[in-house]
Subunit: 324 residues, 2 copies
Amino acid sequence: MIVASAPAKIILFGEHFVVYGEPAIVLAIDKRARASAELRTDKRIYINSVDLGLSGSFMEEQFQPELGGEEARTKLEPIKIATQKVLHFSKKQVGVSIEVESSIPVAAGLGSSAAVAAAVVVAVSRLLDAKLSKEEVFRFAYEAECFVHGTPSGIDPTISTYGGVLLFQRDRGFKSLNVEGDIPLVVGDTGMERSTGEQVAIVRERRKHFPSIIDHVIKTGREVALKAAKALETGDLNALGELMNINHALLCAVGASNEPLERLVYAARKTGALGAKLTGAGGGGCMVALCLPEKLEKVAEAIKRAGGTTFIARKSSEGAKIES
Amino acid sequence: MIVASAPAKIILFGEHFVVYGEPAIVLAIDKRARASAELRTDKRIYINSVDLGLSGSFMEEQFQPELGGEEARTKLEPIKIATQKVLHFSKKQVGVSIEVESSIPVAAGLGSSAAVAAAVVVAVSRLLDAKLSKEEVFRFAYEAECFVHGTPSGIDPTISTYGGVLLFQRDRGFKSLNVEGDIPLVVGDTGMERSTGEQVAIVRERRKHFPSIIDHVIKTGREVALKAAKALETGDLNALGELMNINHALLCAVGASNEPLERLVYAARKTGALGAKLTGAGGGGCMVALCLPEKLEKVAEAIKRAGGTTFIARKSSEGAKIES
């Protein structure tokens, strides 16, 4: 049995603006999805998602649910796609059993589905002895993502594949940032699921009403991301925090925030976070606060009191990889 | 006895950005300061501020407190300055008793001191039969304001003098906007007093850290104000509300908001306000919500539940004027 894992991500800067071609900064964190893969005696693709409590097996386009009925099919489909891509690449006609397990909150902007897909691609490729380049791991995970998100930006499978801290720009790919120091973060989850597609549509609508204003905001977002890249590389946490606050305000300007997010953001700031912002599409999902290490627990406590569930996250340089 | 009054104001758009030469939109509301003036048999300037519970009389640079001790001197000084300006203009050497009364919350960004000063200037000028142009009323009120605020933008004495809805720009003066319809507003007061000077310094500091970013935000503020001027003149309340929300976010980006303000702003938006923003310098003080008339009471209730004191405000075309 082969076990692989891939990291969740936090968008530190530039979410939404990235849709309009501007840079985003994304960070892999020490929260990972795990996938184990083993060969079967039949030719089915059997998938068991431990956290979702869903399982079943695919044979070509046929699905046979085990746990979770027809809902299982939709939720497990991206994992099947990732597996098929590797099977196809390896040119082997075998059956595979896959179990996935992830402690990453779902639909919260942390890239859980991409982390699962990347972990699956790596586990299955090792199982089948298929030598994939990182670029291929990314591509297969991206194709699984397309099933979930339509035409996603590609940020999530990129960071899950490569890890570290990336400056990402649509049509230009990404650049690894050289971040030496620690980036101590508290993630606060509002518990409100939201749809990335709907959030992107809200911004698009506002831009239709006020193109010159929103384009100004987007350009400002670009400046913020570029300054933040410098602050990350020089380890200037104070500047980084202030830039996170500004970025959050720009996300408010395009209509991405809401009251539950604001409650957590202000709880963090009041307790001494260097900066706090929503992360991802907004309208629910998660926020993230940057703190000095000695403040992490206190800020996490404050976010909890304000109604969020929290975890402490650290940047992780490890992308998708074999565990055992 | 002569009674005059002048209106409070709400900055609808462009506070803070106006300091950097960009346009602001300011609205006179139906909340007024009143001043009554009568001649005395001595040459003193006696002032009684009913709401502040302070009184005393000035004779040249001497002050004799009646109620409130030495604190009275500082608080009554601007009223004395306004009175002296008119006395000097009229070339009359007489004593004047002044009583001021105002229901405008103090230090909340509603221009209470300028409204008082403009009412005093108008009352005293009528008392002394001094024919002042509007420009002179403004100038004398402005000079009283300088005692309170150092070098104020001039917005407050302008709107208290002229009333209506003004597009104001530093070094360019103001332009009256032709607003036909009603602008139904709820003002929510956090009850936190704050200093305009300190708030301006916060923005200046952030601009020093990130000049290119903050200059982008300020330019975006300009776009918002210009679009809002159009929305006001065409009576497009939906657009106006959305622009208020955007303007609020830009004020967050320069560091002007805080948790109590956000709480009131989101309470208003959640209850169906078309838009809501802080008004004035921020860091406390007031917020303002634009509502359809039938929603005013409900939004006011929600703001109260969120911890604010509220009043419903309507635009007023009447500037400083004689009451009786």
